[in-house]
Amino acid sequence: QAQSDPHTLNFIDPLWSNMWYMHCGPKSTRCRSDMNVQAAWNRGYTGKNVVVTILDDGIEKNHPDLAGNYDPYASYDVNGNDHDPSPRYDASNENKHGTRCAGEVAASANNSCCIVGIAYNAKIGGIRMLDGDVTDVVEAKSLGIRPNYISIYSASWGPDDDGKTVDGPGQLAKQAFEYGIKKGRQGLGSIFVWASGNGGREGDYCSCDGYTNSIYTISVSSTTESGQKPWYLEECASTLATTYSSGAFYDRKIFTTDLRHHCTDGHTGTSVSAPMVAGVIALALEANSQLTWRDVQHLLVKTCRPAHLKASDWKTNGAGHKVSHLYGFGLVDAEALVLAAKKWTAVPVQHTCVAVTDKRPRSIPLMQTLRTTALTAACANRSDQRVGYLEHVVARISISHPRRGDLQIHLISPSGTKSQLLAKRLLDHSNEGFSNWEFMTVHCWGEKAEGEWTLEIRDIPSQVRHPDRQGKLKEWSLILYGTAEHPYNTFTSHQSRSRMLELSTPVLGPPRASLSPPQAEAPEDEEDYTAPPSHGRPNTLQTSTCHPECGNKGCEGPRADQCLNCVHFSLGNAKTGRKCVSECPLGYFGDTAGRRCRRCHRGCETCKGKSPLQCLSCRPGFYHHQDMNACMTHCPAGSYAHESERTCRKCHPSCKKCADEPEKCTVCKAGFRFAQGRCNPDCEQGTYFDSEQMKCGQCHPTCKSCVGPSREECIHCAANFHFQDWKCVPDCGEGYYPEEMRGLLHKVCRRCDDSCLSCEGSSRNCSRCKTGFTQLGTSCVNHTCSNADETFCEMVKSNRLCERKLFVQFCCRTCLLAG
């Protein structure tokens, strides 16, 4: 339960105090280390203006705890090929997963419902893609939904965690990842967060999962409240960060939103952790929206810490980072992350170096270690590939083997850091081996790349095998990713980019947006152009050979650059050479008084003067603000960039910010609220915003809050009303009873047992029975027997067998009649 801490926020969400993972600290006996999410909130970061989407089986967009932050533009139904990501409802509620993940990220705060999401002011969407055939096309489509609008994609699924599968993204999904990190978020790179495998019990290893094993995804693990390894956790070298999650039955549970407007404590596994990290990253992106996809990974490496997480293999790598195969760099620290993000300078450009390629086939001897080393300069002789400081390291390996699960693979860096790329998997008896499979490790992050690398492969048979049946290492390559210079301690051109972009911070009131950044311009000669006379002779007009643009002073030749003066305008200067032109080219305006072309302000394509406020149209990459006549890299608040016309156009009056269209609001003005894709006026409780009438309408009298006027559009029921069949009713129908639901203010009508006509308090506490049934205590029974003797009846009555379903066949109506 929440500690009595003066810094603890007091939200009215009913399950807030049950969210133990938000209230950890030294005073707690079990979860001694906090993820410091509240501290990040106290610094003002709640995920505002950050868009997160959940790739899963759908999202219940009208859940009371999600409706406020739901964003239809961050959503799509790939399975159904429409825009509604609502999950498919069935008796087993099998499509609850996406809704549960979504609540962790962005459940609304302080709204009397369920929980508080980590980024409770972020926009949350859902991409329904698991409820159908999942193919490469489905995955690629899902990973490529609106990459310039959605910042973070969270996925809590993957290939089978059965301990024998080796699978990953197909060709299209891989391209989608690459497109996302290159082009998403206007070139900053989409953030992909992935839950690591849950196959711990099966002895699975998450390097056999190509999604968590990718350099483009942030692979996330889990730990229990007391810092122990959960039973489901897989270890591997590609895990980056860890959060709290569920553990054994005696460990406390994780609460979140559930289908049918419910709350749940049944959300478990690494599925809990990936959305948590997505929420924490949303806080960081609010602190610094210019973070690239690699900046985010660097920040996690820098700020995660081992805390009290228990692992036998914690080690400090060559760069001083503590890392383990269970938890990566450790428990996330949201406050440290946002503080570091705020002052972060973008890391240098990523270099990729294929440091080693070894195609010599070698046998892998039984019960021994095949060790192969390679010395590399990490592409030092190629300035565009040189890797001085490591980020990800990938070993691409091809092995043939009669039983793949017997293999164990390690990689040792020049600094001596040993990464386990593959552990034995007892259930994997495949004879397919590995074909160019890429094993990734983050354990060498920050180390120097050049030096000797060692690949170790061990074959330890789990069953008797003939010594001649050996595996073979066919070929392997070592691919290093990183930077040429140290990522933190270098002033690079990216810093000036950050500074430049700071100029574009929009403000309220008179919009002051980013103009094209000031550049030192080449000085222009002020005097009118007159070529010096040649050989002391006065200038003469050579009318028979001069260019038509030459003026009355003649020329020295037939070309336009040989005129002594110009009819219209001169273009150029003494250094670059001058020539006479009839009109000035793009980027210049004609100074009729001086009869010369002068340069427009940088960013302007056409203009009427040198000033930045005299632009008439803009170059590609800039947008024209018609009121100010200025060209800017980002349109000011209240307007959006119209790409094809390269102009800033005004948003709808209700929008503070919008994207692509006037009505596609991304941030609402004060007094408006984002709901169902629009900024609607904040309507009072008991009313809803009618988008056709553009005003607040009255809810049905049975609703306390609603999304429309009818009875079926209630979100919460009015006082003393209960929720049944999507309506609020004063009393539950026959055969139903009202039950209090944790996290909801109204009761929900639940069905009584089949034999009951009415019941109270629980489904089996019958108060009246259906025809043909007899009430016995709180049960309704219809079994009869005709051979009951007194002793048997006594036994039935004294043991109350009639009230126990398993033994109800012993219940004798005859006994009842006999008293």
């Binding site: 899963d56 089986d57 090929n81 997963h97 698991l130 055939d133 999942v134 193919t135 490469d136 096309v137 995955e139 690629a140 489509k141 899902s142 990973l143 490529g144 939904i145 990459p147 809590s156 699924w157 993957g158 290939p159 089978d160 965690d161 599968t165 699978d167 197909g170 060709q171 299209l172 391209q175 989608a176 497109y179 996302g180 082009k183 839950a195 495998g197 849950n198 596994g269 690494t270 599925s271 990936a274 495949s430 397919e432």
Partner: protein, 86 residues
């Protein structure tokens, strides 16, 4: 033995020349063009109603001609992938 892949009647096709060309290619070979695949330019999602919907054999027939269309650079019949929620 490894499990058999399950093939569907959905295809990913790389067609040069833009959406109009993709529509032409699809119509010419009896496919329905369901549009670009996410953000991947020149990659389109084709659907063929005459292919077996769930087959353990890769389809033969119309896609052979599709593959020979000069505007088609690459194609892939979609396999169902087993994916588990974690």
């Amino acid at each position: 033995r490894p499990p058999h892949p399950v093939y569907t009647n959905h295809w990913a096709v790389q067609v040069l020349g833009g959406p109009a060309e993709a529509d032409r290619v699809a119509a010419a070979h009896g496919y329905l063009n369901l549009g670009q695949i996410g953000s991947l330019e020149n990659y389109y999602h084709f659907y063929h109603s005459k292919t077996f919907k769930r087959s353990t054999l890769s389809s033969r027939g119309p896609h052979t001609f599709l593959r020979m269309d000069p505007q088609v650079k690459w194609l892939q019949q979609q396999e169902v992938k087993r994916r588990v929620k974690r």
